[in-house]
Symmetry: C2
Subunit: 353 residues, 2 copies
C-alpha cells in the first residue's frame, strides 16, 4: 500500500509530535452536505447507500473534496452489525433507525450469533478497500463500530429510545441475559474491527453513544469492560504500522481515568468536559480527541473561530490532541461553517506545536 | 404554623444528625399512580390540574397516603413561569410541553417581563397554603422552580427539543439576547421561590434539567451563575426556620465543586455519579441528594433493595444524605416498587446514623 502523505492524525493519536493539530469530524460525511443528499437519493435509501461500496466510497470522500480534513472515516452505521445478526435494520425518515426484531425473549437472545464480517458485512470491507485505493495515501482512513452496550441498547429497545427502559429493566432484573448479548456483541465487534483493519482501516474508533446513561458501577460492568475486551482482541499492527484505537463514551466525562486505562491510544471527549482538565487527568497516558460543541457550527464564523481557539488553548502545548467535535455534525450545519472550522484549526494550531 | 413532626428532611439538608436517611422522590406525584390519573382526568388536563389548588393539593398528597415519604413536593410544573410570562403553555398527549409563542425575535425578548407571583401564579401559592394546612406538620413541603437556563431552553425552543439548536445558536451567536432572557428568568424565579417560601414552602429546589448539555465555560456563564444569583436573592429563613435550598443540574457531575460553592445547602446528583466520590468532592460543604437510577424501579424488589443498599453504602456513615432518585419517577413504575424503595431506605439506613 502507498505510504501516508499526511500522517498527522496517526501521529497525534500516538502522542508523537506534529506541525499542527489534525482535525476530522464525527459524521463529516452526512446530511449537511448537498452532494451527500444527492448520492443518497440516487441510492434510494440510507441503507442502500451504506450497502453499496461504490456509493459509500463516494460519500466517504465528499467532505475531503471540500475541506482539508486530516482523515477520512468509512461511511457506514454502527447498526449494520445487529442487522448482520438478523435483527432487521430499517431507517424511516425523521424517526431514526429501527430494528424490526428487538431482543425481548430469552430464546432469541440465546440464539444470537457472531456474524462473519467477510460474508455478512463484506460491503463495509469492500468500501474500506475502495476508499483506501481512492485516497492513495493522502490521509488515513478510520474504521469504526458501536460499543457492545450501545449496540445492545438498540438491539433490546428496537430503536434509539429516550429512556432505554427495556434495556435498563434487563440490566437490573436479568443481568445474565444482557451479559450474554454483550458477549456476542463484543466478539462480533472485535471480528468486525479486525476485518476492517485487514481491509485497510488505519485507525479504529469505538462509539459508545449510550454508555453515559449508566451509573458508574454499571458503566464499568456493562460498557467499559467489553470495550476493553475489544481493545485487547484487536490486531494493533498492520502493514508494518501501529493501528491506534480511539474510545469515545458520550457523557463519559466522569470516567476518563477508567477509559484511559483500557489499553486504548486515545479517548474522545464530548463538549461538556473541559479539555484542560481532561488532559491533566489522563493526557499523560493517552491522546485526547475533541471537543467543540457541534452547536457552535450553527453560529457564525467569528463564534466558530473563537470556539476553535478556546479548544486549542484548553488542550495547550504539545502532542496528543486530535481536533474534533464533541459529537457528530448536525444536518443543520452550513457546509461553509465546517470549512471555517477546519481552516481555523490549521491556522491557529501551529503555535501549540 | 404547626411545628414539624418529621423534620428529618430539613435536618439532613442542613447536615444535622437524623436517626435514618430521609427519602422523597422527584415526580413522586405523577402518572405512575392510578389515583393521579383519575384526578387528572377529573381536572380535564394537566394544566387544569396544575391550576386548580384543590386538585393540585389532592395529587400532592397522594404519594404520602401510600408511602411513608419524608417530604411532600408541591404539584406544579416549571413551565408555569414562562406561561405566566405570556408564552402560552400547552401539553399534548405523548408529546410533552409546548410553548406556543417561543422567543425567536429580539423585540419579543426585549418585551419579556417578570410576572408577579401573587397575581399570575397565585394558584401555585394557594396550593402550597392548602398542602401545608393538610399536612398539619407531618412532613415538610418542598417548593421548586426551573433554572433560568432550563426555562430559557423551553422558551427559545418552544418545547423540549433533543438538540436545543435554537437556544444553542442564540448562545453562540447572540449571547447578549440569551443573557437578557436569563436575567428576566432569574428575577422571576427568585420572586416565585420567595413567594413560595412566604406561602409555606419549607425547602426549595431549583431544577436545572438542561444545564448539563452545556460546555463547562458555558455552564458557568449561562446556567450556574444565574442559579447562584437566585440563591443569593432568596429569603433563607421563614417562621423562624432556616429554608434549605437544593440545586440539581442533571448531567452536572463534572461541576459538583462549582455547584457546592453556589451558596446552596444541598446538591442533587444524578445516577451517573458515584455518591462516594461526590461526597469526597463536596460532602464537607453541602448535603447530597440522590441518586438511584429511576430504571431500577422497573426491576423487581430484590434489585430495588440492592440498589438502595448500594446508594446508602456509597454515601456511607453520618449526616447529610437525602435519598432520592437520580431523576424523576417514570410513568412505567409499578407503585408497589416505590413502596419497596421507601421501605428499604427506612429499614437499611439507620445503621449509617
Amino acid at each position: 500500500m502507498t505510504p501516508l502523505k499526511n500522517d498527522t492524525l496517526i501521529r497525534a493519536l500516538l502522542r508523537l509530535p506534529t506541525p499542527y493539530t489534525p482535525v476530522w469530524l464525527m459524521r463529516q460525511a452526512g446530511r449537511y452536505l448537498p452532494e451527500y443528499n444527492a448520492t443518497r437519493t440516487r441510492a434510494g435509501s440510507f441503507l442502500a447507500l451504506a450497502r453499496n461500496p461504490e456509493l459509500a466510497t463516494e460519500v466517504t470522500l465528499q467532505p475531503l473534496a471540500r475541506f482539508s480534513l486530516d482523515a477520512a472515516i468509512v461511511f457506514s452505521d454502527i447498526l449494520t452489525l445487529p442487522d448482520a445478526m438478523g435483527l432487521g435494520l430499517t431507517f424511516s425518515e425523521g424517526e431514526g433507525p429501527r430494528l424490526e426484531r428487538p431482543l425481548r425473549e430469552e430464546r432469541d437472545i440465546r440464539k444470537l450469533a457472531v456474524p462473519d464480517p467477510q460474508e455478512q458485512l463484506g460491503y463495509v470491507l469492500e468500501t474500506i478497500r475502495q476508499v483506501r485505493s481512492a485516497l492513495a495515501g493522502s490521509v488515513p482512513l478510520i474504521g469504526f463500530c458501536g460499543s457492545p452496550y450501545t449496540l445492545a441498547c438498540y438491539m433490546v429497545e428496537g430503536g434509539g429510545g429516550a429512556d432505554f427502559r427495556a434495556v435498563k429493566a434487563m440490566l437490573y432484573s436479568r443481568p445474565d441475559l444482557l451479559h450474554h448479548i454483550l458477549q456476542v456483541n463484543c466478539r462480533a465487534a472485535t471480528a468486525l474491527l479486525n476485518a476492517q483493519i485487514e481491509a485497510g482501516a488505519q485507525a479504529v474508533m469505538i462509539f459508545d453513544t449510550w454508555g453515559g446513561t449508566l451509573g458508574t458501577a454499571e458503566y464499568r460492568e456493562f460498557s467499559l469492560s467489553y470495550m476493553q475486551q475489544i481493545v485487547e482482541g484487536l490486531r494493533r499492527e498492520h502493514e508494518g504500522k501501529r493501528i491506534p484505537v480511539i474510545l469515545f463514551t458520550k457523557g463519559g466525562g466522569g470516567w476518563l481515568e477508567a477509559l484511559a486505562g483500557s489499553g486504548c491510544d486515545a479517548v474522545g471527549v464530548d463538549w461538556t468536559v473541559d479539555l484542560a482538565a481532561a488532559r491533566q487527568r489522563i493526557g499523560h497516558r493517552v491522546s485526547l480527541q475533541g471537543n467543540l460543541d457541534p452547536a457552535v457550527l450553527l453560529a457564525g464564523r467569528p463564534a466558530i473561530r473563537a470556539g476553535v481557539a478556546a479548544v486549542l488553548a484548553a488542550y495547550g502545548n504539545g502532542a496528543g490532541h486530535v481536533f474534533n467535535l464533541g459529537h457528530g455534525v448536525t444536518q443543520f450545519t452550513p457546509p461553509d461553517h465546517v470549512a471555517a472550522l477546519v481552516e481555523a484549526v490549521h491556522e491557529l494550531s501551529p503555535p501549540y506545536h
